[in-house]
């Protein structure tokens, strides 16, 4: 080898060295194709609820009722922020993505908990955060999407966390913001806006995943000339709320996305007369065009702040000798709704209360339209008490469905009531627009009540409840259920994260985390080992309800704040 050749080799090595170092620290990343989103591998958790049907179900079966007592934490990670940590750990072939309040996104090695990258959005200093939370990312190809609390939609490079595009969807100063994880389907990123307490006009919008350009936008309150506009009077539709708080579920056969919608605002119904479409409803939107193909309004002229924020689960169930392609929704209004999803609309199947409900006097057996006790409907200038209260029988925390047990799992709150005093006020952009005398708003519980929180299991074959686990205080825990026959749930103010036998409801395992667990749990596997992951970080409505409970119980409950990602596996 000549000196010249040696020099060339040395030069080549010098060039290679940084590249090789780079290769060592680089992440191998599997692109998230449309096919993978349609059929997620059992070892991955590729979207908010694990699949497009919204089940919160992992087919993994290594952790079972007989070995779950050996579940131990294998790593944890502090997020460095307080408030409501509600996002699921979303996992793609060993890479985990989480979001936190104050708009961080982190990529971590799912097996070891090592940080790959961290994105922090520079939020405006004058931002108002009524719901300081974020409910997670969406994945597509080699990109990560996050919808922000200052009303942006952002695409990040999954390998580096670098911003690929940043679309300003709306003006946060007028009360628009995002809390949900986006839905990605057919190359579009879909979001819906929060802000129902601030006099917004809600909408759902889709953006091209490649460049962030808006593809369509559909208001949840129809404008003049659109069907349903006549269910509003005067200008109430302009500030009527109808937010979208959570990710839609998607039926690829029908090409329909199903969205749960928020309440009409301000709260008392006589401040916005009419049925108020499409408030407190499920609406079916064509994924390509955003056209509304069907709707079902759970209750008309909302007066109770009963957002039907949760998205119905796509579950097929038998009814009268045939299989119904269903939409199943445990509502904030305290009824379990079963509907039929069709290409041409949404049909009513049945509804029954899953908590004590003193407002509906009957449900029309054909249309599902409820009739109200007028004395329990809040209005201007009167004090009205109703049960369930403001947070309803179940708030945003997602229910789960296990196809092996064929049970639906509902995180419920029983026995709570609210008293509202309606007080009309003027709309001011970006300010609270509730229509109530706030200091006179109180919470109470029903006479003789002995508990609040519940975990319920309902058999989708029979439509009947099969078991209930009761908690002394409130339950704000989203559901994970697994092929191993377990249900995982946090949500209580004692900081516990628990595993239940999916069949019997028996508590099999619990672990005291750093804070209260209101995060959506997920399960995944790396190198053949099943993990269960969740964020612990109390805040937002769980904390608000705690403050209300402490007021009427005369207690002072300290639930420590601060977010931590926890990852559990069986002890070897």
């Amino acid at each position: 080898m000549s000196v010249r050749t040696l020099a060339l080799v040395a030069a080549a090595l010098a060039l290679l060295a940084p590249a090789m170092l780079g290769a060592q620290s680089a992440v191998s990343y599997t692109p998230v194709t449309e096919q993978r989103l349609l059929n997620p591998e059992p070892h991955n958790w590729l979207m908010y609820r694990g699949n497009y049907s919204g089940w919160g179900y992992s087919p993994l079966d290594q952790i079972t009722p007989s070995n779950v007592r050996k579940l131990v934490p294998v790593w944890s990670y502090s997020t460095g922020v307080t408030e409501g940590h509600q996002a699921p750990p979303i996992v793609n072939d060993g890479v985990m993505f989480i979001t936190t309040p104050q708009q961080q996104v982190m990529a971590l090695r799912a097996k070891t908990g090592d940080l790959i990258w961290r994105y922090k959005k520079d939020l405006p200093e004058d931002l108002l955060q009524l719901h300081p939370t974020n409910r997670g990312v969406a994945l597509w190809e080699d990109r990560v999407f996050v919808a922000t609390v200052d009303a942006h939609l952002i695409a990040l490079d999954a390998k580096t966390g670098k911003v690929i595009w940043d679309t300003t969807v709306d003006d946060y100063k007028n009360g628009y913001y995002f809390t949900l994880a986006p839905l990605v389907a057919k190359g579009k990123v879909m979001v819906g806006t929060s802000g129902g307490e601030l006099g917004i006009r809600g909408y759902i919008a889709a953006f091209d995943a490649r460049d962030g350009k808006q593809a369509w936008k559909t208001y949840t309150i129809p404008g003049p000339g659109e069907p349903g506009h006549d269910t509003w009077e005067g200008d109430a539709w302009k500030t009527g709320g109808v937010s979208v708080w959570l990710t839609a579920h998607y039926d690829p056969q029908l090409n329909l996305t199903f969205w749960g919608t928020g309440n009409a605002g301000p709260w008392p119904g006589d401040m916005h007369p009419g049925d108020n479409l499409y408030s407190s409803s499920v609406i079916a939107l064509d994924a390509d065009t955003g056209k509304i193909r069907g709707h079902h309004q759970y209750h008309w002229n909302d007066s109770w702040d009963w957002d039907e924020v949760s998205t119905p689960l796509l579950i097929d169930f038998p009814k009268n000798g045939r299989v119904v392609k269903g939409l199943v929704h445990p509502g904030r209004n305290g009824y379990l709704w079963r509907l039929e999803r069709r290409a041409d609309g949404i049909g009513f199947v049945d509804a029954r209360p899953f908590v004590t409900q003193e407002v509906f006097t009957k449900i029309d057996p054909v249309t599902g339209r409820p009739t109200y006790d007028p004395e329990r409907k809040p209005r201007n200038g009167a004090a009205v008490t109703f049960c369930p209260g403001l947070w309803g029988g179940k708030d945003w925390t997602p229910a789960g469905y296990n196809p092996k047990t064929n049970y639906l799992y509902i995180p419920a709150n029983e026995n709570l009531c609210s008293t509202l005093v309606g007080q009309a006020g003027a709309y001011e952009p970006g300010k609270l627009f509730l229509g109530i005398d706030r200091p006179k708003t109180t919470m109470s519980w029903r006479q003789g009540a002995s508990h609040i929180g519940e975990l319920q299991a309902w058999d989708m074959k029979t439509g009947q409840k099969v078991w209930t686990h009761k908690f002394p205080y409130q339950n704000w825990g989203p559901i994970l259920t697994t092929g191993g026959g377990l249900v995982f749930l946090g949500g209580t103010n004692d900081r516990n994260f628990r595993a239940f036998d999916a069949k019997s409801g028996k508590v099999l395992w619990e672990f005291k985390t750093n804070s209260g667990v209101t995060g959506v749990p997920s399960s995944f596997a790396v190198d053949g080992v099943q993990y269960v992951a969740v964020q612990s970080g109390w805040g937002v409505d769980a904390q608000r309800m705690q403050a209300r409970l402490d007021t009427f119980l005369g207690t002072k409950t300290e639930v420590p704040q601060g977010g931590v990602v926890w990852v559990f596996a069986l002890r070897e």
């Binding site: 307080t82 408030e83 405006p124 009524l130 003027a426 200091p439 904390q543 608000r544």
Partner: protein, 175 residues
């Protein structure tokens, strides 16, 4: 064309920065919302025992209202000087105390007045602040008091004596 346009732009830019600037000494206050929006807040608007008002500071010389940032909203209320702690009394004028009207927890700006205790509660997450004692946190998730705004009286109205003691708003944790 010529000098007129650039000059106009400079004046606009100054207006924008004046509208965004935090309260300055000698600023008066105007109502933020409601029928009296934009009207100067006088001593008569703040009777003893009355509920707090929200005002934006206004530069008296130019008439520019500093309303281009929510963080400029100021909570004003008249309390019995005898119930104020020494530091709060030193910053008050005729019993009128002034604080940032933006909650230090997550930035809400609506307040529920608790007359009996001289405190305000934020309806968003129920943080409670003691207006008699420098708006220290009594209850709830807020970690930090509401910044005080020292006052004086001029021409029958409360007027800013010095800028905010502390930074208004909350720490968003952004980059």
């Amino acid at each position: 064309m010529g000098v007129g346009l650039p000059l106009a732009r400079v004046i606009d830019a100054q207006d924008v920065s004046a509208r965004r600037a935090r309260p300055q000494p000698n600023d008066r206050f105007v109502f933020v919302v409601g029928e009296r929006k934009g009207r100067v807040i006088s001593l008569e608007d703040l009777p003893p025992g009355g509920a707090p008002l929200t005002g934006y500071p206004m530069d008296v010389a130019t008439g520019i209202v500093r309303d281009d940032s929510r963080l400029n909203q100021v909570l004003l209320v008249r309390l019995d000087p005898g119930v104020l702690d020494a530091q709060t009394r030193a910053r008050a004028a005729e019993g009128i105390v002034a604080y940032s009207a933006v909650c230090t927890h997550t930035g809400c700006d609506a307040w529920d007045w608790q007359a009996a205790s001289g405190t305000v509660k934020c309806p968003c997450h129920f943080s409670e602040f003691d207006l008699k004692a420098g708006a220290r946190v009594l209850n709830g998730p807020a970690q930090r008091r509401l910044p005080s705004l020292p006052l004086k009286i001029a021409d029958g109205a409360p007027v800013v004596a010095a800028g905010f003691v502390g930074r208004p708003g909350f720490e968003s944790g952004g980059a």
